[in-house]
């Protein structure tokens, strides 16, 4: 088992394997996204209250889901890297951060674009918006720490620990922001509770969530491949690879 993990997680093996996986992930992400967008933009009925502008949720909600999912992936792989000293896990964590930050940013931008016609303003200090913004700051902190320590091993371990500390803190931050808002003014316009979502809206939403996940897989593999290659630039397998070209 251990030997198998060792083999599977060696950068050389990963480099070859990921090359085969990336096209599959990327292609299926593209196809599912196209179909999901078609269903979402043309087939799903308009909302009885929000009209057509609700359709941005087919981008916004999957991006928001991914922003949290990627942070957890990052923290888990950083923990694996810290505990079992698997270098590939560190590579995955480091390559996930910019992607997760982008998802967070997309969620914030689409959210505020949707907020303008709905709430009449681009930004409200709504609990969810605020915790998404803080999540973006957490990503920035991780990336800044990763970039500013020169020794690669130390950078991985230190930023990995920060990711784990962040994961412990995220629920605390989330709930304190939520309580802060409800303590302040109670649920007003900013909270809109959908009783239950129509099935014709739910299907494209789930499809888009799947497409985003596959897109993330493809992207993280691309980034991790580059990162693995760069980190091992002085090792033999990379040199052999270059000589073959």
């Amino acid at each position: 088992m251990w030997a198998w993990i060792q083999k599977f997680s060696s950068p050389k093996y990963f480099y070859g394997m990921s090359a085969k996986l990336i096209p599959w992930f990327a292609l299926s992400a593209l196809l599912i996204a196209l179909y999901g967008l078609y269903l979402g933009f043309f087939v799903a009925p308009p909302d009885y209250q929000q009209g057509e502008s609700y359709r941005i949720i087919f981008i916004h909600v999957p991006a928001a889901w991914m922003s949290m999912f990627v942070y957890v992936v990052m923290a888990v792989s950083a923990a694996i890297g810290l505990i079992w000293q698997i270098r590939l896990a560190d590579v995955i964590a480091a390559s996930s951060a910019p992607i997760g930050a982008s998802f967070t940013f997309i969620a914030l931008v689409t959210g505020s674009l949707w907020g303008k016609p709905m709430w009449g303003t681009y930004w409200v200090w709504d609990a969810r918006l605020t915790s998404e913004l803080i999540l973006l700051f957490l990503y920035f902190g991780y990336m800044a720490l990763q970039a500013s320590i020169e020794d690669q091993r130390m950078a991985d371990k230190a930023s990995g620990l920060l990711a784990i500390v962040g994961v412990v803190n995220i629920p605390i931050i989330h709930y304190s922001v939520e309580w802060w808002n409800t303590l302040h003014q109670g649920a007003t316009v900013t909270k809109f509770d959908k009783p239950s979502i129509h099935i014709d809206m739910l299907i494209p939403l789930l499809l888009m969530a799947l497409a985003f996940k596959l897109f993330y897989l493809a992207m993280v593999l691309v980034r991790a491949r580059n990162e693995a290659l760069y980190r091992d630039r002085n090792r033999r397998w990379v040199r052999e690879l270059v000589e073959k070209l």
Binding site: I134, L145, I149, A158, L161, I164, N169, I173, S176
Partner: protein, 223 residues
């Protein structure tokens, strides 16, 4: 182990008391920042009162943040941190001693001076005690969580901005409940919930943050 805790605490206090001006700086900064706000807006009592909880808490946050550097930086540079890490005593206990010293030297003075600032900001006398309580429970959390950030950046040159980028998001829950407690108190409602929550965060930080700090020091400060 208790002895080690005690001696390290004593050592840090003594070292800090030898350079008193450095000790006073965060405190002066705290007072200065708070007194900037009445100058920046029309200082009517109602407006000041409305702003007071947020202003005082943000100023306390920044003041602690600026003083964090002292926690490990000097010991890292002159090598005494290496000696501490080589000692047979558990690093967690030593970290806790250093953080306690840091809080006694920077957090506690803030708590003591805070009522004065409350008066500056036209807070009612009844909410002054809540201000003191919230700072008393909140500032140790700031020192404890800040220690994680400092230990992660101790080897980075010019890590000041980086430190604030890492630490400030983690401070948000303390800020929310600390400021909210004073806010609620000036409305004349019960602040028990907010203070309990601050206490819970203190318990959590007290039990987990030294562990994380010790691990971080082993990562970054080992040469």
């Amino acid at each position: 182990m208790l002895k080690a805790f005690y001696y390290l605490l004593l050592r840090d206090m003594r070292l800090a008391l030898r350079s008193r001006h450095e000790l006073a700086n965060p405190l002066i900064f705290f007072v200065l920042v708070v007194s900037l706000f009445p100058l920046a807006v029309m200082p009517t009592p109602e407006r000041l009162q409305e702003m007071a909880p947020g202003v005082i808490w943000v100023a306390a946050l920044l003041s602690v943040l600026l003083s964090l550097d002292r926690l490990f930086k000097q010991d890292y540079e002159d090598g005494s941190l290496d000696q501490l890490m080589l000692s047979p005593n558990p690093l967690v206990v030593l970290v806790l001693a250093k953080v306690s010293a840091h809080w006694l030297l920077t957090g506690l003075p803030l708590v003591i001076i805070a009522p004065l600032l409350g008066v500056f900001m036209a807070l009612e006398t009844s909410s002054l005690s809540v201000l003191v309580w919230s700072l008393l429970l909140g500032t140790p959390v700031l020192s404890l969580v800040g220690a994680i950030g400092v230990s992660l950046t101790v080897a980075v040159n010019r890590g000041g901005v980086l430190l604030s980028l890492i630490v400030l998001p983690l401070y948000i829950p303390v800020l929310i409940f600390g400021a909210n407690a004073i806010d609620v108190a000036s409305d004349g409602m019960s602040v028990r919930g907010q203070l309990y929550f601050l206490g819970a965060m203190l318990a959590l930080a007290l039990s987990l943050a030294p562990l994380a700090t010790a691990v971080a020091l082993r990562i970054t400060a080992s040469r």
